[in-house]
């Protein structure tokens, strides 16, 4: 296995060892990453104001998230986690839904019809095998759809990661395992999570290819994912991708990361900012200036603010409605309990 992560754009915005990328694509990714960052900041701010419950910021991981879903077609599936709001958004899962979930409204978990993305997984590890089952079903149904699942470095320690990878290997399901190795699982550094040198090399245990990529390089991420998606569509099975990136903020808005890591560590990673290198490259080509930046930002902000307004306009579930989605047809006890709950709500 290659131990050097795949790169297209170096941190200083220069292209490494290949033909220049397509400007319009790069510009689109830049716009998406900008929107992602603005959302992340907005959500963090909303949380501080008490308008969201907790929030898991992904700052620093925008390239991984945008790059991971860029190669997916609409019929492909995304099975992602609590920190993957940007990836989900760019696979069609609305900001509004993501906000609703974070506000504490289960209707966030219901994306529009046609969006093939499951609600963000809150448990660590359990969702990867779902992407195996989904991909397997698509194979059985004879579609060309694949499933991509996103998870962290910590998630690879769960037994379910192992079973998911093993099933994908045995049944050659069209699954892409996309690990964002952001260096930390809450307070646990990657080096203490597992004694293997890389996460990518774990693929070898399942007869699957493992790929290491610079997770802060959106073009490189997109490239390796596109290759994995192609492999999957061609019936050649699954791939494990390890995107090396960094969690710039705390684990969630409730976490104080200064308790367990040195400030300097983050500083090093800030120099590898996923947006900056793209901006530099675009600027060098004359495809970026301050005016464009403002335009991108105001467009993005408009969308984000609209989503916030929409989400906040939703009336929270009534006492009766919490009984509505347990079964297709509520059972007898649920009907009775619902009546009681509505009565207490009226009294309260």
């Amino acid at each position: 296995m290659r131990l050097e992560p795949r790169q297209v754009l170096a941190a200083d915005g220069t292209v490494i060892d290949r033909r220049e990328p397509d400007v319009s694509i790069v510009a689109a990714r830049y716009a998406a990453m900008t929107e992602a960052r603005l959302y992340d900041r907005k959500a963090s701010a909303l949380q501080r104001q008490g308008r969201l419950a907790t929030y898991a910021p992904y700052e620093g991981q925008e390239a991984s998230q945008v790059g991971a879903v860029a190669p997916l077609a609409a019929e492909d599936w995304l099975v992602a986690s609590y920190r993957d709001a940007a990836a989900m958004r760019f696979h069609g899962y609305p900001w509004k839904n993501l906000l609703l979930t974070r506000m504490g409204d289960e209707r966030g978990g219901r994306p529009p019809e046609g969006v093939n993305a499951t609600p963000p997984s809150i448990t660590v590890g359990g969702h990867m095998i779902h992407a195996v089952g989904i991909a397997w079903a698509e194979k059985i149904k004879g579609t060309r759809a694949v499933a991509l699942t996103m998870f962290g470095d910590g998630a690879t320690s769960e037994g379910d990661f192992h079973e998911a990878m093993n099933f994908a290997g045995v049944y050659r399901t069209p699954t892409v395992f996309f690990c964002q190795n952001n260096g930390w699982a809450i307070s646990m550094p990657r080096s203490r999570q597992t004694a293997s040198r890389t996460i990518a090399q774990k693929a070898g245990a399942y007869g699957l290819p493992g790929v290491l990529v610079d997770g802060n390089d959106v073009l490189a991420v997109e490239e390796v994912v596109a290759e994995a998606v192609e492999r999957a569509r061609a019936g050649e099975g699954a791939t494990l991708i390890e995107a090396l990136t960094y969690r710039v903020r705390g684990h969630t808005t409730a976490d104080d990361h200064q308790r367990y890591r040195a400030r300097e560590e983050a500083a090093g990673w800030l120099g590898k900012d996923p947006l900056e290198r793209v901006r530099l490259w675009l600027e060098r080509l004359g495809a970026w200036d301050e005016a464009l930046q403002s335009e991108i930002e105001s467009e993005a902000s408009r969308r984000i603010e609209a989503a916030v307004a929409e989400a906040e306009a939703v009336e929270s579930l009534s006492a009766g409605e919490i009984f509505d989605a347990m079964y297709e047809d509520p059972t007898g006890p649920l009907v009775a309990q619902r009546r009681l709950a509505e009565r207490s709500a009226r009294w309260a």
Binding site: W77, V79, E106, R107, G109, R110, P111, E113, T118, P119, T123, G126, H127, I129, H130, A131, V132, G133, I134, A135, W136, A137, E138, I140, K141, A147, G159, D160, E163, A164, N166, F167, V170, D324, A325, M326, Y327, E328, T331, G332, P333
Partner: protein, 324 residues
Amino acid sequence: MGVMTLAQALNSALDVALDDPRVVLMGEDIGKTGGVFRITDGLQRKHGSQRVVDTPVAESGIVGAAFGMAIAGLRPIVEIQFMGFSYPAYDQVISHVARIRSRSRHRFTAPMVIRLPYGAGIGASEHHSESTEAIYTHVPGLKVVVASTPENAKGLLLAAVEDPDPVIFLEPIRAYRAARGEVPDGRYLTPIGAGMLEQRGSDISLISYGAMMRETTEAARRLAGEGVSVEVIDLRSLVPLDADMVVASVEKTGRAVVIHEAPLTGGYAAEIVALIQERALYSLRAPVRRVTGWDVTVPLRLAERHYLPSASRIMSAARSVLET
């Protein structure tokens, strides 16, 4: 129509279920061997190894993958070899299978069946005699049914496959070959949520399910010989429960014994007793008694007989209820 064992009835149900192209069977050794209990015998040969899938030894993976399939529109039926091996998959069941509908407000659902051979009495090794239905009946979002005869085994299994929600399907191991009876051909459904009034009576209600129906009806038979008029209920569906049937019965008889082989503390009988107490307290002429397994690990073969409720234990509980 034909006489079948409970095992054969299940095989027939699965064969019928596989007519639906969305149905996929998954489990350890369910292919060429037809499963530890031969419930899937011949089905892989007939329907192919894409539809009847042998899996690695990984219960969480099996249930999790089946769950993904269900989300994507298939109707998986999972076999776990013994209920005692379902625990590695418990997280998948409680955290995902039972919740995807509420988590996504109906957008995604998990119409799947998890088949669990359960119960003691065959002198098996440790973990092979479990009856831990209580860890499933307590989970909102699941349905839990228990077969007891060849006929209801087939009908309930086909109903479980058609159900839009996940169903935990308990199969009484010691009835697999012991229970024989007429089983209709083709497709028919035994409704989930409806109990079965096995026998009408007016002095006492015996309430049970699954494998313990045999000892329960045996006790009823013997009590009848003593002149007692016994009502016998086979719950069949634990969630949702046919509460009205239970309550109506106890309102009539005023006395009841609830029987299961799971340990006493926190077993499902407690829920039945609580229900009776809530809705029929004033009809009760004596405390409802629970006859259950003890609060111990199910003993291995040589001491197993000390564990399982016997017809005579049920009878002596019934007598003491009748005498108070």
